[in-house]
Symmetry: C2
Subunit: 208 residues, 2 copies
DNA sequence: TCCGGGTCTGTATAAAATACCAGTTACTGG
DNA sequence: CCAGTAACTGGTATTTTATACAGACCCGGA
């Protein structure tokens, strides 16, 4: 029911493009012209359908009264997760310290949130205390990827290494020891894969 | 001549705010209502004045036909500088590999460009080969700041240390030697201060 | 003093845009 | 086979919007 038809998807993409180019939403007539509709009502009905499906909002009576809901979420930006409250899902509202807009093209795959790193256990991978890591939320991880894992209600960033039923969470710092997790005994929740790193304020002086 | 009056500045700020909130530009009547004008023509004349001063574009005949020129520049995002052609200014068009939108609140002071780092000379400061550093363009630097410097047509990222007329460009890696610059003999151009670091694609596996 | 720009009121009108209504065609699932 | 939905054409009433014109007031510079 909530799935868009190919035509509806085209309409939404057209509106996004138009917004980028013109800085304002299109009118019914402009949509109709772009798609070759001979009646603006064809556009009207597409817009109604898209509103029913929750993809956009229409402001009654206003000219160019089309608001894409996606763009609102994009405008919100990525949530920055600071301290993760025990037992709460990582993206719970109370964990969000701020939101930052990040160009989606900058990282791939697309990150879902930023996580503030505590401690120097990943120093040799260039991830320092206080750095923000951009995380793509997926449970599918491969060995040698740097992951965000939750173990005993502790959230940690480590390099992932699987050896049969044994998972090793490897620090990138000789001062720390690898963490051994036996999946038959302990539960390990993968909160995502690190797809980027972001450090604020190197100006004042940072480390050594 | 190109200076905006306080009232004109208010108008521009109002349009920016409206764009953020509604996702479309305001009409003359909406501007008039917000400012308490009793005539839409007051808004019209402000828009004309702002167009004359080059702050925005008006699309004749189109409803909500206001395009802020600033927002276009903001949409362009920060330029990513790759290889710097010898003798060319760092922000020359031919040095720009791409543009990325970055939340201005993320870094402070505001960065002017991103520079792709080559080599591992700043490894211990968490800046690795291929990282992007966000750079605030200023010639004013203090000791211990990480700077982008140009020396003999080579652009390099190092920690700055001044000792009277002698400047030391300090690597953050024991395998590299500090660079000694005597300002009486050599010219050193400071291209800016590093205010942030950005690494793309840590997912696949990075270093050690 | 006169001029021009900035800031606004008030009125008017044409053009742009929305919001309906009545149909048509084609496809899909019960 | 029929109902429902998607995807249109064609048209119209109504509202929204842009824009022009006629003034008014203040201020600073020539």
């Amino acid at each position: 029911m909530n799935e868009l038809t190919p035509r509806q998807r085209q309409i939404v993409e057209f509106i996004q493009q138009w917004l980028m180019d013109a800085g304002r939403p299109p009118t019914r007539a402009e949509i109709a012209k772009a798609f070759g509709f001979k009646s603006p009502n064809a556009a009207e009905e597409h817009l109604r359908a898209l509103q029913r499906k929750g993809v956009l909002d229409l402001s009654p009576g206003a000219s160019r009264g089309i608001q894409l809901k996606d763009s609102l979420r994009e405008q919100m930006g990525l949530p920055l997760i600071g301290r993760v409250a025990a037992g709460k899902p990582i993206l719970a509202e109370e964990n969000i310290e701020a939101r930052y807009q990040i160009d989606p093209q900058l990282f791939s795959p697309r990150p879902h949130y930023l996580l503030k790193v505590k401690g120097m256990s990943m120093k040799d991978a260039g991830i320092l205390d206080g750095d923000l890591v951009a995380v793509h939320r997926t449970p599918e991880v491969r060995s040698r990827q740097i992951v965000v894992a939750r173990l005993e209600n502790e959230v940690t960033v480590k390099r992932y290494k699987q050896d049969g039923p044994i998972v090793w969470l490897m620090p990138a710092n000789d001062d720390f020891d690898p963490i051994r997790v036996d999946l038959k005994e302990q539960s390990l929740i993968i909160e995502g894969v690190v797809v980027g790193v972001l450090r604020q304020g190197t100006g004042k002086g940072f480390l050594q």
